[in-house]
Symmetry: none
């Protein structure tokens, strides 16, 4: 039995995914996966190194590709002429989100793993990796455009980070809630507006100086 059995690799990945989703990374049992896939634990070790390696195989390529896609989108916007940015922002933004959403919907399973079953792996805070990219480019953008509010120091940096985290976290709710693609589109649209408004309020407050006081506040 020296040769790689046909399809074992795929079967293992399939079963692993099922097991991870069902029990979470920590509680998943390698032996169970091996048994279910009709192979041996040893075999899994030769192919994937260890338990986390198996998880990685499922999650990492997808996460990396998303990061690349996302970086490319940001980069392309960043390369625009300074004076185009402000005006083309919205369309770029919406278009970018569309692509990201497409990618997510093409790799639902992997994102489910990342979101719900990654506790105990190095992916348990995978969101931070996306947020980090977002934050980096946001800073660049703000400097390019000129943002007075930014000089207030550290807190603002932290705040951007947290706000972005909230934004991305909310975005992935489309996965957790099993929204269909249409629903997701509408939902993400709202989300974009929501966070855009929040962001502007904090960092470009001059645009709203009028009658702020009569805004309603739903959150005590």
């Amino acid at each position: 039995m020296a040769k790689q059995k046909e399809g074992v690799y795929e079967r293992v990945l399939e079963c692993a995914e099922k097991e991870f989703l069902k029990k979470g990374f920590k509680d998943a049992s390698l032996r169970e996966i091996a048994k279910e896939a009709g192979t041996s634990t040893g075999s899994i070790y030769t192919r994937f190194g260890d338990k986390e390696g198996l998880f990685r195989e499922l999650a990492e390529p997808v996460l990396e590709e998303l990061k690349e896609l996302f970086t490319a989108i940001q980069e392309r916007f960043d390369q625009l002429e300074e004076d185009c940015k402000e005006s083309s922002m919205r369309s770029y933004s919406e278009n970018g989100m569309e692509k990201v959403l497409d990618y997510i919907y093409d790799h639902m399973d992997a994102f489910k793993l990342l979101l719900d079953a990654s506790y105990g792996t190095r992916f348990q805070n995978f969101l931070d990796e996306l947020v980090e990219i977002e934050v980096r480019y946001t800073f660049r953008y703000m400097k390019a455009i000129g943002c007075r509010t930014l000089e207030e120091g550290k807190t603002s940096g932290e705040f951007i980070h947290i706000a972005a985290t909230g934004y991305f976290s909310a975005m992935f709710e489309v996965v957790r809630h099993n929204m269909d693609r249409d629903q997701a589109e509408r939902y993400i649209d709202m989300l974009q507006k929501y966070h855009q408004a929040g962001f502007d309020t904090i960092f470009y407050p001059e645009k709203y100086e009028h009658g702020k006081d009569d805004l309603t506040d739903p959150i005590s």
Copy 2:
């Protein structure tokens, strides 16, 4: 050895907290806690029932009290005359948040546990319990005030839930980031404005109908 040995109770709780924070609930070892506290595992079982009971002892009272505090705040606002609400909202909201923040800072340890070490316990989604309260009162408020946008159906309900989750989640970042109290105050103030703006944009868009298109968007 009848009657509680002096100080064992406290020592166990202390060590448990340390262990839980260090390894998370699932990976924390009862034996280790017992050893560190200078007791037997059996003793922990007499006092706390089981592993989760020990965690509960640390987290539950604090969470419950926060929920009560939070509900009281919401309730008090809800009881106001209809026509006062809109105008006194902001002050109520800020005042409420202040109290909540006070409470959190008085029970930092418990909230650290809830945030970072509760995976595997019934508290792992503790945030939902707060969100649920928030959402309930938000709906009431929106009905009282009259909100046209609400009739768009299910998505809106889901959206409110997600937005509130983002809000609360972000709020607890003060704990995760170990902000000092002053920093937190400033931070929370921004957060409130941020989400207020987002919320209004989605649910009371008529107030912003002017020049939306020249808003900047930091998020791709």
Copy 3:
């Protein structure tokens, strides 16, 4: 709390019985019994010494009394004039069994314990104590009456023991099967005839020397 609380003693015995019947002696939990009875484990220890002491309290008096009753019955028959024995045997036997049965039905609970929940206690072979009495008197009787077959040696002694065990064991099936008193009476009557015939066949075969060979045999 120095004085013996009213009724605690009884309540403990009640709960112990329930627990022992439900789980058997070994698996019964003293703490469970104490909790159920509204007292403390310590209290059970002061009253009953240990877990088996508690069981003993329930089973021993009844078993002892049965043994006394049984011995008395045997003794009374043994004291008869030699030449009366053979003729009055049957009535004595039936009358004795009646009394025994009465006693058993008056102490069902205790016998249920002895039969089904005594594994792990010194009562787990309680039947032997009754058999031992039976065997002793049977030997005396056989010697008095004169029984040629007895000289065959050890095996016979062992055989009597085993046969008697079978007899008593079968007798207690009235308890295990929850027969009502009437059923039991009829059943025991059959049982007596069954074993009497068996016994005579082995030890007084001369009474059956006729056509034994055309007896049917249900047991392969």
Copy 4:
């Protein structure tokens, strides 16, 4: 260390048997068995699944084979011509018992386990499985031969069951008493006669209608 270590399997079974016999199933310690056999507890689990699986390995094959042997014997008798049955019964019966006894003596250890150490396993009432077979065929036989007494209803069925239980239970005393094979033979012979007589007395009383009253009764 792949592939079974030489002789571990056997050593574990040996030690398990010793431990089970010494302490009974429930009180036997897997750790102790593993230690004694020079393996790890984990190893026992890979091989036998769990504690009861280990016991099962020792007892089940033997019990199953006995049941098969016993069924075959009964079946062969059952297939005889109706009018042969009554006459050939005795020889069949004796011959069958001989085979059963042989089998028992060839697997003493397993039967010791079943008899004395199976409390807590699914074998604790293993006798019933044999009795059930016996009773089934007995009923068939009685119907074939014609038995007037059977119409008395339920009690009779119960009685047959109990009598058969007594018979089998007594049979296994050869194991408990460590009789040598010769002793056992003589003993079983007596036992057969004893129960045959009992059985006939109850179910074919017409054959004994003469002078029953002068039978002696050894049992009070």
